[in-house]
Every structure is written in C-alpha cells, then in structure tokens.
C-alpha cells in the first residue's frame, strides 16, 4: 500500500518514514505532502519554549498525559540542537517521556536543528503537516533550549507556552525584547524553589506594560512539573486560549501569517539555490573579486549589476 494512504490511516511505521524523508528533503516527500495537504489544518499546535534545563520536556510529558486523560490524541515534535562541528546530535528529550512510548494515541518524534538557529528545525513545518494528516488532534512542539531571540516558534504554533524558572537573572531580563514577548501562556516551573514568586511578579509587571495586548491577557502559572503540580491549570489555559483564538478570529490571522512565512521561506530557499547555481556556472567570480580587492570596483555596484542580470 502506498505511504500516503498508510499515513492517513495512522500507520506508525509509515508516519515515521515520511518524516525521515521530509527531514532529508527527499523529493518523494514533497509528492506525498502534496497529496496529504487536503487532510491538514485540523490539529491545534502548541509550542513549548524556554531556556535549557527549565523543564520543557518534563512539562511536555505531563501536558501530553493530561490531554490524553481528556481523550485527545497528541503528536510531539521535540527539537534538540545539532553540533555545529560534526552535524551530529544527542536527542534526549524522550528521557522524560518514557512511559508515553507505548501509548497508541501519542506519537513522539525527536529532531535535531540540523543547523537552523531559530529554535526549530527546517523540517518542523512538514512534520507538523504529516502528524496533522495522520489525525493527531493536538501537536506539541518543544523547541531547543532557547536564549533570548529564538522566536521561530511563534511563527509555527497556535498557542505558545513560555517556560521560566527561578534564579536566572534580575527583572531586567523580563523586560528585554525577545522570547518574553511571545508567550500566550507563561509557566514558572520548579515553583517549589526560592524566588518563584518573584519571577511571577516580574512577569506580571512586564505583561502589564504591554500596550497592544488585545483581549487575551496571558496567564502566569506556577508548576512543579516533575510532581505533576499545576499541570491541569496549564492545560485548562491552553484550551481556553484555543477557544479565544477561534472565537476572536485570531486563529485565522495567525495561520495566514504562518502560511505566508512558510511560502516566503520556501520561495527564498529555492530562489537562493537557483542563484547560487547560476553564479557558480559563470566564472566571473574571480575577476570580480580581484577588482573589488584592488579597489577598482566597489561591491555595491557589483551586487546591483548581478541582481539586475538575474532579475531580467
């Protein structure tokens, strides 16, 4: 039977194999994704992001279990970094999700960033499409441990959960631009530790200063994920946010933005690959570079000339 049909039926070997092909940018994957596209758009996408060691995997594990209790099926994409030197990776997020392995209503896939810098991997979008077409109702996307500016998740998820922990820095961290701006739900994990209350207050003060908030005020929730404390509230708030997105029309707007981003990225990738090919065909590089180094030409004219040549 063909892969597309098997994925639609939820066959796990087929789902896994198609994800591998998408990750490897195998042209066959695109053929399959074309056929699956009409089945997508049903899943609700939840992003989980936060610094390394903040408990994203443990929180993901517990949120999945709570969603399962509520009868939902869940796909999980867990992203870990790849080595900038060897391209290798250790994907360890599953250590915290061991007992989900045997649940037929859950499918977990670990991915390395394969060099991407925004906290996700290039294949994340296509993997979401595959899990969506396979019928998973919720898809959780756990980013790599992020610093301050890896905000690709907001372009990908419907609801973004930002995880903080006590002890990472003073309140100026909370008012910096970047990941603290992107949360729809904030979680202060490891809340049994000293300083948790302060983190909550700092987050609340930061949120109060956000002028363009709309009708959704992001809640700040305390959890101790290893002990499953506070998880029901987190899932309640996610579901509440889902309802808000749907009723306010915001979901449509977010998804439109996502598709627009995805199209632009893919078009740019393809165009840039074509241009790179074209430039390597003509061997004008050397002479041009020499002339730039010898100050006979300036790089700005050279750029304009090449671009005008390509766009004709």
């Amino acid at each position: 039977m063909d892969l597309v049909q098997l994925v639609k039926e939820g066959n796990r070997v087929a789902i896994a194999r198609l994800i591998t092909r998408a990750e490897n940018e195998d042209p066959e994957a695109i053929v399959a994704l074309r056929q699956l596209y009409s089945e997508t758009g049903k899943a609700f996408l939840i992003g989980i992001t936060g610094p390394p060691g903040s408990g994203k995997s443990t929180l993901t594990d517990k949120v999945v279990k709570e969603l399962r209790k509520r009868g939902k099926t869940v796909g999980v994409i867990a992203v870990d970094p790849s080595s900038p030197f060897t391209g290798g990776a250790i994907l360890g997020d599953r250590i915290r999700m061991s007992d989900l392995a045997l649940d037929d209503g859950v499918f977990i896939r670990s991915m390395s960033t394969r060099g991407s810098l925004g906290g996700l991997s290039k294949a994340t979008y296509n993997t979401i499409q595959i899990l969506d077409a396979a019928g998973f109702e919720y898809i959780l996307i756990e980013t790599v441990g992020v610093g301050q500016s890896e905000v690709d998740i907001i372009k990908t998820a419907d609801t973004t959960v930002v995880v903080s922990v006590p002890g990472l820095g003073d309140d100026i961290q909370a008012i910096k631009a970047g990941i603290m701006e992107i949360g729809d739900v904030f979680v202060v994990n490891k809340a049994d530790r000293e300083g948790a209350e302060r983190v909550v207050i700092e987050l609340a003060q930061m949120l109060e200063l956000n002028a363009n908030m709309g009708d959704w005020f992001p809640p700040i929730l305390k959890t101790v994920a290893v002990r499953n404390e506070g998880i029901v509230d987190v899932v309640d708030k996610i579901i509440e946010h889902q309802a808000y997105l749907t009723s306010s029309g915001e979901l449509c707007i977010r998804r439109k933005e996502r598709i627009s981003n995805e199209l632009i990225n893919n078009i740019l990738n393809k165009v840039s690959a074509k241009i790179t090919d074209k430039l390597s065909e003509e061997n004008f590089w050397d002479s041009q570079l020499d002339e730039i180094i010898e100050n006979k030409r300036n790089p700005y004219d050279v750029i304009d000339r090449i671009i005008n040549g390509i766009l004709q």
Partner: protein, 132 residues
C-alpha cells in the same frame, strides 16, 4: 536532497543502572555526525521497539550489563519484525561472554561489541552496514 543523516537509538534495557558506557558511546556517535536518540535507563523491549519505530532509526544499539542479553536482545529483534520494522541494523554492547555471541548473532543481532572495543569500531561498522 540534503545529506542523509544516520539516526541511532542507544537503548538501555534491563534492570542495571549503569549507563556510563551508553553515554560514552552516544557521545562518540554524536561526534561521528550521527543523530543519537537516548531514552535513559530501564527500558522494556516494547518501549525500545516503539521508540525505534517512531524515530525511524537506522540503527538500534543495545547496551546491556545485567546478564539478560540472551533474553532481551532477541526480544527486541522479534518485536521489530512483528511490527514490520525489520530493516534496522541491530547491534549490542556490554559485558557479554564470547560463548553467548554466536547465539545472539543467530537471533539477528548484527554485531556485539565487548569491553575494550575502541569507539571507532562500532562507528565504522555502522557506516559500512547501515541500510542505504
């Protein structure tokens, strides 16, 4: 098409709590450019098989020090076959007596690496034998 990555599951079945070897080999695999999925201690063969399938790994590397290799390693092979995922290279490592190795190979374990093996040996073995 980008370069195909070799994906390896480093699995620790059984009841022993010693995963230093598994971590060292995971690290060596990473440095060889593999994507390594590590799931932690005390996994059942059923869990290992489920993870191998979801992650679509090319290689299942089973580390075992508890003496239960004769039972647990073939069980992983058989469960993978049952689930229609028998195109994976399965290798084993740990304190395994020489006398036990022929039976394990007979059961479908491609190779067994015992203590003292340089990490380059399993890496080269994987590169040479992984599915294309």
């Amino acid at each position: 098409m980008t370069e195909r990555k070799i994906r390896v599951l480093v699995a620790k079945p059984g009841l022993d709590g010693h995963d230093r070897g598994a971590k060292v080999i995971a690290r060596a695999f990473r440095d060889a450019g593999f994507e390594v999925i590590y799931t932690g201690l005390r996994q059942t063969p059923e869990q290992i098989v489920a993870v191998s399938i979801q992650e679509d790994v090319d290689v299942v590397a089973i580390s075992l020090l508890s003496g239960a290799h004769g039972t647990l390693m073939p069980k992983v092979v058989n469960l993978l076959r049952e689930k229609g995922a028998d195109d994976k290279l399965i290798i084993g490592g740990g304190v395994i007596p020489d006398d036990d190795i022929p039976a394990l190979k007979e059961a479908g374990i491609a190779e067994i690496f015992t203590p003292g093996t340089p990490t380059s040996v399993p890496i080269e073995f994987i590169k040479a034998n992984v599915r294309q």
